[in-house]
Symmetry: C2
Subunit: 494 residues, 2 copies
Amino acid sequence: MLLCSRAIQRSIVQTRKASALTSLNIDTVNPLVKDVEYAVRGPIVIRASEIEAELANGVKKPFDKVIKSNIGDCQAMGQKPISFIRQVVAGCAHPELLDMGVFPADVTERCREFLDGVRGSIGCYSESTGIASIRKNVANFIESRDGYPCDPNNLILTNGASSSVKLILEMFISSKEKSGALIPIPQYPLYSATISEFGMQQVGYYLSEENDWSINISELKRALEEGRKTCNPRVLCIINPGNPTGQVASYNNIKEIIQFCIDEELVLMADEVYQDNVYREGSKFHSFKKVLFDMNAEEGFQMASFHSTSKGFMGECGLRGGYVEVIGLDQDIHYQLNKLQSAQLGSNVVGQVVMDCVVNQPKKGDASYDLFIQEKMGVLKSLDARAKFVYKRLNEIEGITCNEVAGAMYAFPRIHLSEKAIAAAASLGQAADFMYCLALLEETGICVIPGSGFKQEPGTYHFRMTILPPMDDLKVFLDKLSVFHTQFMEKYSD
Amino acid sequence: MLLCSRAIQRSIVQTRKASALTSLNIDTVNPLVKDVEYAVRGPIVIRASEIEAELANGVKKPFDKVIKSNIGDCQAMGQKPISFIRQVVAGCAHPELLDMGVFPADVTERCREFLDGVRGSIGCYSESTGIASIRKNVANFIESRDGYPCDPNNLILTNGASSSVKLILEMFISSKEKSGALIPIPQYPLYSATISEFGMQQVGYYLSEENDWSINISELKRALEEGRKTCNPRVLCIINPGNPTGQVASYNNIKEIIQFCIDEELVLMADEVYQDNVYREGSKFHSFKKVLFDMNAEEGFQMASFHSTSKGFMGECGLRGGYVEVIGLDQDIHYQLNKLQSAQLGSNVVGQVVMDCVVNQPKKGDASYDLFIQEKMGVLKSLDARAKFVYKRLNEIEGITCNEVAGAMYAFPRIHLSEKAIAAAASLGQAADFMYCLALLEETGICVIPGSGFKQEPGTYHFRMTILPPMDDLKVFLDKLSVFHTQFMEKYSD
């Protein structure tokens, strides 16, 4: 009898199972999420991980390791962490170490001071917008960088810059007319992904490949007019130095862009996470905020500037530190931003501590100073050498052209593919640069991202590679690429 | 001439300023964000911080410090971090320490093993869904907790449980019919905040205060039917042990709830972040997953279970660690979840390391074992004593009744307010419990959150207090509350 009723129960459960399964599936899932694309960890990268597993299982390949050049993950490519930063994190995490004499005096002192300001522990929730003492240090950093005042209340510390870009874009979602955001083509796909996720509209403006990927105001105007036909463009997103293109905007270009925002009543989002990564002789990072204030145009101007602990000389990607400085927003909007952050209870405290180290570096005379400078300059010099090497070597390959890697951590070479290659890819239902990158991966173990993942001018093909592999790996990488490219061109010669 | 053209330029800028200002303001900001409310850091808490600043500036008050009982922030209330966890974090952050003999042997070994699996550094981005070795340890933890299999591919490590709740709820946003989520009343306002942010609809079901805040199936049915009039309810959210109410669901109640989800084709979201915090004699935490599998009802059932590093015995709120286990989702949905996580590049690695320590604790014979157990049991015993003390003491105050604090970290006492008090609050445009909590703060320095911030049955008034202040502070707290309450009741006696 008992068994019988149990059997009936099972059968009820199983009858209902089919319909319960329909609750969350590909037809009922949030359609905006389905629209999201993020190539930096897309199919090519998934395949790269599979190949790594195959190699580990002894499968024979024409190469013995995968070189992952798909993501700006410095330490994964062998860059060593800055000792000062890690000592401060360790000391804050386990304050007993501060009594053991294992750290330089300035590290110990900094940890104690910091802990005093956070009720003795990094395990407490921080203020929603970030720890007050760190926001103050970030404000000082911005003031000395730009020479203009920065109010710590304009700063929000977040889990990497990705979170703050998302936070600001979310403000523009509209229930009426679709809001549009102008984004560069090519762009870093966080922007297109977030815009899709929010049901907003991408309004793409082309960077001028012929002019070192610079931003042309007439192209901005064209894009804006085009965008206005189908949505309400409200934001202009700029990535400077550029990802994936590595361009560094000139002072005058920045002025023009600001004037364009004024003329067109656009809010500016300036992604400045690569501000420490400038390599080209004569190029210099200028913050949009500084230029805005130089122009005396700050009154009534609305902008946000993003920074991160993941790039620069520190490359602390995994620790997820970042900030946004907002300018020209009224108290109502500050309240909304603060409220949204507070429901997530603020960002992780270790990321905030790392950001503190980045904006408040050891000073001459501090016990950590010499080592810090040696490590920091070592990284920056090495990145500089790799940027120049990649640029030179790519252009030596026939059928590849590449603008100078003026800044950031990427090259975005153009691959001049034949009609035959394009047709072959089309017959596989693939973009031609996708087919190219997949073949490159399978034949050489080199993992790069097809230009189509970043968008590009129709009929042009590119890929993004980081400049982060160690020099020895980069040399092998580019030799292999050269051989592969030649063979690929021969295979598909028209 | 130059000056003149400069002046013209300024005047152009200033003419345009007014219109540019309209770009992002309270009228044009995302209307869904405006709807978000999050009382745990709302106006009462903002006022508490102001009062702290006033005290620091020498302003005279009837008290000398603010007791912040508004948020489950264990370490901010003096709880000491677990040494083992912090040693592991410090060792992973600065591996040089591992050679210095400053840590117990098992800490050193664990750090080395862990670092081997993450290319030597916590500064690398993790996999989007979290570090593989940690997901495997979480899976082992769940398996030994429940006695049923757990696939590490069903796990996503996130920045605290808040992020994973948000991630899962986002799947249900619909472009057609509004999706609804059933949430308890009273509830933890992360749920209402996120539902508002996503333009979904809250469908509230009342917890039964008369029955120790238990969940009544007939009330779930009533709420669901009510909800179906205006939206498409797709998810049932349960918080067990409860926040703010501290109830612990019985095994049979959980069975009924699962059967209800099967019958009504609802996806279950089980917030189980307080699973280590059960105090009442005879009560026990049962995971929804275990009961589901005990019922043999897992086929076709869809659910998500959330856990966190912020509560339990560790209280590592600031380090933002958490996970979600999803059950019954097909590969398409896994792909969507993974993609959304990947655009944010995964959660912070330190939070993941802390989660690893929580699910893989020192074992008997390990060098850290004795101290670990001593610290862990010390925290849990002390919480137990405080839960019982708060419950007893609250019920000694006339005009206050409170259910037993069976679990979690909060009491949610009912305050029986007079008509006169309710009318006085209404004349100020305030909820009566808001007026009560504000007066309590101003007169005694005690900061608690009004029940209206969590929602409550109309005509009833409550507040939420944490049981986290140290026992000595709690005694002062409850004595002061008692005096305040009596005076308040006298002032507003009908």
